[in-house]
Structure formats: C-alpha cells, structure tokens
C-alpha cells in the first residue's frame, strides 16, 4: 500500500520499514500488557499484590499521574481559547493528543482496577453525588468526550480524509466552535482534577491524607487542579522535546515553548507556595489535632522526610524558579532539567497521595504497610505507555500535529 497520500504534504517521515519495526517493538510491549489485563479480568484482582490495607495502589497512582500529566490539554485549551494565547496553537494539538492518551488510559486502568468491571457503569447509574470518585468518573468521562471532539478535527486533517467534503466541513465546523468545547473541558477539568485531589483529602479517617476544607472541598482539591495546570505543560513540552529528539528535527518554535514554559513556571511557583502553606498548616494544626506529629508520617525507611523535601524543593521550587527566569527556560539544559523535575514532582505528589496514604499505620500498634506490585500490575501500567507511544507515533506520522513543522523543516 502506498503511504504517500496518507502522509501530510510537505513533511518528511521515516521509511515504512523503520516505522513498522518501531511499531512492532511497541506492540509487543502492548501485548504483554494486554495479556496481563486478560489475566486480571479472567482471574480477578488476586493477580495483583494489592491487599485489604492497600486497596489503592499502583493503578490509582497511574490514574492520578496520567491525568495530572495530561493536564496540559485543558490548560493549553484554556490559555489558547479563553485567555487568547494564540502562540500556543502551535503546541495545543500535541497537548490534545497527549490528553486523549492519558484520559483513555486512565479509563482503561480504572476498568482493570475495579473488582466488577461489568458493573462499572453503576458509578453513573447509581451515582452518589457526595463521593469524590463519582465526580471524577463523570468529569473524566465527559472530558474524555471533549478531548475526543478536540482530537477529531486533527484526525480529519489527514490529507486523505480532508479530501472528502463531509469530513472537511465537519473539521472546519468543529474548529469553529472549538472554544466552546475547550471552555467546557476547562470546566470539567477543574472539577475532576480537583476531585482527584479530593479523593485523598476527604479521607478523614486517614490522617496523612486528610486536609482542612474550604466549603465542601479539601485543600487538596485546589492543589490538584493547580498542580495539573502547572505540571501538565511540563509533560507536553517534554513529549515535544522527545519527539524532536527522535525525529531529529525542530517541530515547535522556541517562542511557543518558552511561553508555555514561563506560564508553567509561574503556576509551579504559586502552586508550590500554596502546597507549602498547606503542608505547614497540616503539620502544625491538622495532624496534631489527630494525635500525629509530622515525623510520625515519615517514620518508615521508604517513606521518609526526604520525599517531602524532594517534592517541594527539588521538584517544586527548583523547576519553578528555572522556568520563570528567562535565562533559565531559554537554556536548553536547564529547561529540560526543569520539565523533567516537574514531571517527576507531580508524579511523586500523586504517589504520595495514594501509596503513602495506605502505608501509614493509623493505629499505634500497627506496622507500616508494605506493598510491591505484581508483574501483572506493572504490565498493565506499562500498557498505556506503549499505547501512548503508538498513538503519538501514528498521529505524528499521519497528522499535522505540529503546524510549524513544514515551516521549520522545509523540504528542498
């Protein structure tokens, strides 16, 4: 089959065999994950190393992490369509693709994670509106619909599809009202990102997780939305950089990257200040009220105070400060360091807010709970990575993801 009509005009792509080889490797990893997924669905959650103390584990972390990392989509949408930062149009397509991958992965992981996947829809049908998880499920699904809608026009820009009048018009018309979708997406994201923070923050039986509330929302609600908006762009930039590295060409102009990085930097700085205030209040007021000192929560060898330092200083203030300074973000090494630290930082935060919550003993006579994921859990968590690589590879090969690519890489 001749690929040429499928590849956007004016850009160069690697050879078919090279691409096929790459896809074969990634597909093999994907199949490993699919096999694990089959085992889990067929035999049940006994295939995992979760237990009654660790009901939430690797998967919930993966969910929270991918949604935070996919936060670049809603935030770039917000900046582009609502704030009017048109420069970001050059990166928003990728943000949407990443968002789509992240959210579809999150939904898949949730479907694996629940004990009765065939009853999963009860969360909608029998919704308990007071549960943070209900809010997560609704907003996540709705926002996934929005992301799909945002992704469709990009798919329709495939040269072959674009030739069909219906798809061409549809793409055009969807573009026309994209601001409305984007605004809806921002609204939904605000809530589900927040609700994911709320998932831990409302657990008043878990002193490590519980935070004071503003109205019905715990602090973590706002911190999660904020951190997703702050660190999501880091991941978008990181994926851009990795794609550039692999394809060995520049895909997005520095102006767009630097603008995005700068906004991200300021979001990180403000977030980490808020997070610090939250931590101080929690350490000195909330936790002691329940009979805990801060160090009680960091009394294990795995979960020691170094984690808190890493999260706030190394992966918070440092990348934030790099990104808000012009010289920092314009130095490619510092920029890369900052966005990598940022991605680690938000993932670490989500890890702590899921796994450390479970690990901390609430009774003085209990030991710290330990957990090591089974290979099935690891494989199903790697599965979305493989899936993401496949989608990004296909999208990059066949769709005009980077509007500036042609201009930056003219074909002689």
């Amino acid at each position: 089959m001749n690929e040429t009509p499928l590849i956007p005009a004016g850009v160069k792509r690697c050879s078919k065999w090279q691409f096929s080889l790459w896809m074969a490797v990634v597909t093999a990893v994907l199949l490993w994950g699919v096999y694990a997924m089959y085992l889990i669905w067929y035999k049940g959650l006994n295939q995992t190393n979760m237990n009654d103390a660790y009901g939430f584990a690797l998967w919930i972390w993966a969910d929270l992490a991918v949604i935070a990392l996919g936060g670049g989509a809603f935030f770039s949408g917000f900046l582009t369509y609502i704030v009017g930062k048109n420069e970001l149009k050059n990166i928003i397509n990728l943000a949407v693709v990443i968002g789509f991958i992240c959210y579809s992965s999150a939904l898949l992981i949730l479907a694996i994670d629940i004990g009765q996947p065939l009853r999963g829809w009860f969360i909608f049908w029998h919704a308990n509106v007071h549960s943070m998880l209900t809010e997560v499920a609704f907003c996540l699904s709705c926002y996934f619909a929005v992301l799909t809608i945002e992704f469709i026009p990009l798919i329709l820009e495939n040269p072959k599809l674009d030739k069909k009048p219906f798809w061409h018009h549809l793409s055009h018309n969807m573009h026309g009202i994209m601001a409305i979708f984007a605004a809806t997406g921002v609204f939904l994201s605000f809530f589900h990102q927040g609700s994911l923070g709320g998932v831990a923050g409302v657990l008043y039986g878990r002193p490590f997780a519980f935070r004071e509330h503003i109205f019905i929302w715990p602090f973590t609600f706002f911190l999660f939305t904020w951190s997703a908006a702050a660190y999501g762009p880091c991941f978008t930039i990181l994926v851009t950089k990795i794609t550039e590295m692999i394809t060995r060409k520049k895909l997005v102009k520095d102006s767009a990257i630097h603008l995005f990085a700068k906004i991200s930097g300021w979001m990180i700085i403000t977030y980490i200040i808020a997070k610090s205030i939250d931590t101080i209040y929690w350490a000195f007021v909330t936790a002691p009220g329940m009979g805990f000192t801060l160090m009680d929560f960091y009394a294990s060898s795995t979960y020691n105070i170094g984690l808190l330092f890493a999260e706030i200083v190394i992966c918070g203030f440092i990348p934030g400060l790099i990104l808000i300074t012009k010289r920092g973000r314009e130095n490619s090494f510092l920029l890369m360091s900052a966005i990598i630290l940022g991605v680690i930082g938000v993932s670490l935060n989500r890890w702590v807010m899921v796994l450390q919550v479970m690990a901390v003993p609430v009774f003085s006579f209990n030991e710290w709970y330990t957990y090591m994921p089974s290979w099935q859990e690891v494989a199903t968590t790697v599965l979305p990575v493989a899936y993401g690589l496949i989608v990004i590879s296909l999208a990059h090969r066949y769709l005009p993801v980077f509007p500036q690519e042609k201009e930056l890489n003219p074909i002689d």
């Binding site: 009765q116 009853r119 009860f122």
Partner: protein, 763 residues
C-alpha cells in the same frame, strides 16, 4: 458505480460505524449491559443457600471431652449454625471456637466418606473404596486369626476416653475377645486422678470447684486456653465476681496469664517446687487450716509405722523448701513467693490446680501430689470451692459378660503398656510407653492388631518418629476415625465413624465439674456419607466372631444397646438430653477418705511400695530430667496450647485455622516464640528463619519476638504441622511432638516431660 477495493472498504467502515452508532439508539446494547451486570450478581458458581423452615436441635459437643451443650440451628433439616446451649449445666451457653466451628467437622475434605482399604504403602494415601461388608469382614478375619493362634492379647485398642457407654462397649468387646490391652490416651487428668486416689483413696473424675473459689492458683493450667471444659471455664471467667483472683504461674504469658490478676514467670518444670515452697511458708507462718490438718489428715507430722520405724512428715519435709532455695529453683522472687503463700492461705476459698496448658501431658505425679497437699493445707478438700472427685459413673446397667477359655487366657496376660503392673500399680493406662515397648521388642511386635477410635496417637504422642516406627511394626491397623487424620492415613482399613453431629452417644461428666452430668449427644442430621457408628461396627464384628463374643452383645445395634443398658435413665435422657445426678459434697467436718488411714494422706501410703528407692512416699521436688545435652542445646523448647489450635485427636477446622495469628503461622511456616533478648544473642530478628534442633528432630521455623516469654525459653504451639487432613490444615507449621519425647515418671509411668533442650541457628 464501480465498487473497487477502496470504496468497498470505505462503505464497510461506514456501515460498521453507522451500524454501531445506530444500534446505540436501540435497546440492545443497553439491555446487554444490564443483563451482563445482572449475570455478575448471580454468578452460577456463587452458591445461593436455600431457605426453609427454621428449627433447633439440642445436643452435646463431643469434639473434646468437655461435654458442652450445643444448640444447632437448622434450615429445612440442614444444620447451619452451632451455638452454646443456654441452660446446659456445663457451659451455660458459652462455647469455644472449635465448638462453634462444628459444622466444618460435618462436611469438608477431611471426612472419610466410606470404608477404605489401603492400596499403596502405609501413609501413601492410596485407598480403595470398599463396602462395609468387606471392611468388617477383613477386620473380623484378622481378629479371628489372632484368636485362633491363641494370641488375643496381641490386639490393642486405643481410645480417647474410658467413660461413657461407647468406650465401655469397646472395653467389653476386648474382654470378651480376650485382650487386656484397652488403652486410653493420657492427659493431665491421669496424674491428677492418681494424686487424688493416693491422697483421698477415691478413684474418680476430679472436681475443681472453681465456681465457688475466690482465689485460683494455677500452676500453668490454661484455664482460658482450653483447659477442662473450655465452655465452662470461659463462662466462669466472664461471670466471676471482681473479687476473685486468678494467679497464673507459667514461663510464658499465655492468654490465661494475660487475663490473670497476676502472672508469675516460672522456670518451666519447677511448679512442684513452688507448691512445696508455698507450703513451707504456710506451715512456717501457721497459716494452714489447723482443723483439717489435725483432724482429717495423715502424715503432716512425723509418724511411726507398725514396725516402729519413724517417717518424716510433710511439715518436716517442706522445711527443705525455704523461699530462698525455691526462689533459686523457680526463678521467682523470694518476696513474691512469701506474699503469694500468704494471699493463698488467707483467701476464704483458695484452690490450687495444675496440668499445663490444655493438659495434654500428664506431668509428674509428685507435682500433682504437691498441689493436692497445698489444697489440703488450706483445708480445701471435699467442700465448695475445693477439690474432690466424682466416682466413676455407673449409670449403665451392663449384663454380666461370660468369656471363653481363650479370652480368659488372654485377659490374664499382663498389659503390654505396663499399667497396673507391679511397677505402676496405680496407673490405669500408659499409652506413652507403647511405642518404646513395641520398638524394643525382640521378634515380632507384641501388638499384632491395633484398633484406634477417638484418638490420633500418630499425631498426639510425643516423639512422632518413634511412634511411626512402632506403628510400622504393627501388622494390622484399623482406624474408626471419621476424618483422614494421621493415624487413619497410616491404617490398613478405615471404618469411618459418623461425625459427632450424626451420632448418638452418652457423654458423662467432664473433669472439673462439681456435678455429675450425663448428657446425650443426639444426631442433629442423618449421616451424610457411608459411615457407621463405631459402636455398631464393634457389635457387628462381635456378632461375626460368634460364640461367647457374640453372646456378650445381645443387642441389635448401638441404640438398642443404649436403651437396654441405660434402662430408666434412657427415657429421661432421650427426652431432656441430660440427666444430672446431684453429687452431694460431704458435710464439712465430716471428711471421710477411703485411704488406709481413712484420712487425707499427706503421706500417701498406697504409694509406699513403689517408692522404695526414695524411702519416703512424700511428694518432693526432684527436677524432671530434660532430654538433651546442655552444652549442645542451650535453649529449652516448651510446647504451648492455644484455644485457637486443637492439639488433640481432632484437629482444627478451617475456621479455627483462619483465626490463627500471623505471629503463629505464616504461609506454611510455623513461628517460634522467643524473648527478644535471647533472639538478639542469636542474631535473630522478627520473622527471621532459623533451624530448630532438638535431640528428637529438626525443622525450619521463623521466629516471633515476644516479650511475654522467659529469656532462654522458646515456645511452639501444639496443633500445627499436620501431615494428614486436607490442604486447609496439612503441612502448616510443625507438629511440636516431632521435636519432643516422653519422659517416664518413675512413680506412675506417665509422661512427665514439659519440654526439651533445643538449639536455634539462624539460616
């Protein structure tokens, strides 16, 4: 329009997509989603128990000798729940976890569901299902052969009890057949009974009237760990007055010790010394019951026999047990000893009891005598809140049994286990000696056929290897066990008894209770499998053997036999489930004893002839020799009992094993309790794996660091390490009996071992 491949693909795609979208508008996908979830709510492999009419049946639990009343809830005749019987005089509604687990002994993979004949090697687990005719026929044939060859005495029978009509029926069978070798499994009750016999001259079931006592001094008795009738003890503890004191003396902080008012950590095996030390203080400070000692006791003061020879009295003898010395022996602080003695003597109704843990091992006869003497010192004999004995029950009216010449000859042979011999005249059964006797026999085994019912010696006897070796020398073993226990799995034939909820059985008074209570265990459900009441099996074998043996069993079956032998009592028993024979305690100041002196004998004269070596029959303290070289084995291993682990003939139900803590069993490995200080010296951390070696065997264990155990002592529970039963019990932990061995009490022949030396190496 030309349909080429491309447009075909396009149209197909459009059709599929359109079809999918369109079908969403139909009810089909929604209905399917709903149906699928309804399916998950009704998975065919998740059982739905049938509902029906609720009824209750009352019976008695016979899983242990405790004799607690049970109330069984049934749905359309199907038992679904067991709870304690509220108005039963033994347990008053309380029940132990084993009793509550009862339904798991009715069904489950451990049940033997039909007669089995061994196919492969012994213990290999290869069986052939056979008919009852074949199984009974094979046993009859073997027994007939042995009789024909003039060796009826080479048939031995091991049972769990010798009280009640079923054991008596089996005893009658052996008598008619011609074998004196009826052997009851021994417990601490044997030593206590003998001590009571020696001091009071009464043969009977011991009574500990803890109900009415106000100060309970327990020398290691696990009164809240399953000692005696567990239901009764728990009920007593729960309803006792706050003023009642429990003092627990044992090297390990057991559940009993944890609930006691005071726990005294003692060097294991030195309980007897402590009892004498307490006696010392009580006598020295004149705190004893002068009236009882002066008027109703013999041998307190020095006395002169008919030959004019002067003997030391108890008072003189205990002068050797001053607190200083006893403190050194027992490891208990001198001041504690003195204050305990005073508190015990000054209490209005103090009682001292012994028998370690559940009482699996009889223990030294001197120790039991010392404890009985302590009770006598405070005048606590034959009165409320004290110690006495209920005469062996004789409610069944047995017709005389006539025996033929072969049987008569057989019955005149000495017992194989040596009980009742010149060496051990006061001991009735000595199962612990059997393996050694068989193993050391020259030529063929003195036991040619072994019948086992309500007992599991292959598991419960200390030194499992020796027991197995002995059993391997017995050519013919028959088990009547309803469960595939260790002994059954080494048998040649299994003639499975009904499970306890399926069979009729009278249950006589259990040890400890101050009233004579005979209860009737009634079938709450029809037999589920092809099993037969053990009484019926014996009657059928007797009938098949013919002659005098057949004549000794003129009844159609066990029920008919029960009806005829119990006579009047039967109607009452059947109707009420219980007959209670009021046991009247003698009036105070009217103490009469059946001893030579007609008094309570601090100096047990009946013991005189066997204590020649010692010159005196007085109980004294000589350290129980403990097996193992102290240089090689620096630690001491003691077995302990837990209410959540059945260490006896009937093993744990899955529910009980489920309650066992992960500090006792972790996956398939048993945990050994060790004091952190001792562990540190051995470089062992919590959960570390170690090799445990004793003179009897070795095993891999994990260690559990426990402050509640005396440094230098290590402890393992009884009840784990089964090799038979099912996956719910087998190969979990180690059977502590594989690591220990019996030590024969020179006075009684009973096993008096309390532990064994051991070595622990980190691996």
């Amino acid at each position: 329009m030309k349909i080429d491949r491309r447009s075909f693909l396009t149209y197909t795609t459009a059709l599929v997509l359109g079809g999918a979208a369109g079908s969403m508008l139909t009810p089909a996908p929604w209905k399917l989603t709903d149906d699928v979830s309804i399916w998950t709510q009704n998975w065919p492999w998740t059982p739905v128990p049938e509902d029906g009419e609720v009824t209750y049946k009352q019976s008695v639990c016979t899983l242990c000798p405790g004799g607690c009343g049970i109330n069984v809830r049934l749905i359309d005749g199907r038992p679904v729940k067991i709870k304690g019987l509220e108005d039963h005089p033994v347990n008053k509604g309380s029940l132990c976890p084993m009793g509550i687990s009862g339904l798991q002994y009715l069904y489950g993979p451990s049940r033997v569901t039909s007669p089995l004949k061994r196919e492969g090697k012994r213990g290999e687990g290869k069986w052939k299902k056979v008919s009852w005719e074949e199984a009974l026929g094979a046993v009859t044939k073997k027994l007939a052969e042995l009789r024909a060859s003039g060796r009826p005495q080479s048939v031995a029978c091991i049972t769990g009890s010798d009280q009640g009509t079923t054991p008596n029926l089996i005893g009658r069978f052996l008598t008619a057949y011609g074998s004196p070798n009826y052997i009851r499994s021994a417990t601490a009750q044997d030593a206590i009974e003998q001590a009571i016999y020696l001091t009071q001259g009464k043969q009977g079931t011991p009574v500990f009237d803890i109900e009415n006592a106000d100060f309970v001094l327990s020398f290691g008795s696990g009164i809240l760990d399953g000692w005696g009738s567990a239901g009764r003890m728990f009920n007593l503890y729960g309803s006792q007055k706050p003023a009642k004191k429990i003092i627990q003396v044992e090297p390990r902080l057991s559940d009993t010790a944890a609930k006691a008012n005071q726990w005294l950590g003692i060097n294991p095996g030195t309980e007897g010394a402590l009892a004498l030390g307490l006696a010392h203080v009580i006598i020295k400070e004149s705190l004893y019951d002068r009236n009882f000692v002066e008027n109703f006791a013999f041998g307190f003061d020095d006395w002169t026999d008919d030959n004019g020879k002067t003997h030391d009295g108890f008072a003189k003898m205990v002068k050797n047990f001053a607190p200083d010395k006893v403190s050194k022996i027992t490891g208990i602080d001198k001041a504690e000893i003195v204050s305990l003695a005073r508190a015990f003597a000054r209490a209005s109704k103090p009682i001292a009891i012994n028998g370690r843990g559940h009482g699996a091992i009889p223990g030294s006869i001197d120790e039991s005598l010392a404890v009985q003497s302590l009770n006598a010192l405070v005048g606590n004999i034959n009165k409320p809140g004290g110690i006495s004995a209920i005469p062996d029950s004789n409610y069944a009216k047995w017709p005389e049994v006539n025996i033929d010449e072969i049987a008569s000859k057989g019955m005149q042979q000495p017992r194989i286990d040596g009980a009742g011999s010149e060496q051990f005249p006061n001991t009735r059964f000595l199962l612990n000696r059997l393996p050694e006797i068989i193993n050391s026999a020259k030529g063929e085994s003195p036991v040619q056929a072994l019948l086992v019912t309500d007992a599991n010696p292959m598991y419960t006897l200390p030194d499992t290897a020796a027991t197995k070796k002995a059993f391997d020398r017995i050519p013919f073993i028959v088990s009547f066990s309803p469960y595939m226990d260790e002994t059954a799995s080494h048998a040649d034939y299994i003639l499975p008894n009904h499970s306890y909820l399926e069979r009729l059985q009278d249950v006589p008074t259990a040890a400890g209770i101050s009233r004579q209570v005979i209860s009737l265990a009634k079938p709450v459900v029809k037999p589920t499998y092809e099993t037969k009441h053990v009484g019926d099996s014996f009657i059928l074998i007797a009938k098949a053997l013919g002659g005098f043996i057949e004549n000794a069993f003129p009844w159609e079956d066990y029920e008919a036999f029960l009806k005829e032998t119990l006579k009047d009592q039967w109607r009452k028993l059947k109707k009420k489930g219980i007959i209670e024979i009021k046991y009247d305690l003698p009036e105070p100041l009217a103490f009469t004893f059946n001893t030579v002196s007609t008094k309570f004998e601090f100096y047990p004269t009946a013991r005189g002839s066997v204590k020649q070596k010692q010159n005196s029959a007085l109980p004294t303290y000589t350290p129980v020799p403990i097996e193992g070289d102290v240089q090689r084995f620096k630690l001491v291993l003691i077995p302990y009992d837990s209410i959540r682990l059945a260490g006896g003939a009937i093993a744990n139900a899955p529910f009980m094993t489920k309650t066992v803590d992960d500090t006792v069993l972790k996956k398939q490995v048993g945990l050994l309790e060790i004091n952190p200080a001792t562990a540190k010296g051995l470089g062992l951390k919590e959960g570390a794996t170690a090799l445990l070696t004793t003179p009897k065997g070795e095993t891999t264990v994990k260690v559990h660091l426990y402050e509640g155990i005396k440094p230098g002592i290590i402890a393992m529970p009884r009840g784990l390490g089964h090799t038979a039963y099912s996956e719910f019990l087998a190969d979990k932990g180690i059977n502590v009996n594989t690591l220990t061995g019996p030590i024969e009490d020179p006075g009684s022949g009973l096993d008096m071992a309390w532990g064994i030396r051991a070595k622990l190496i980190r691996i």
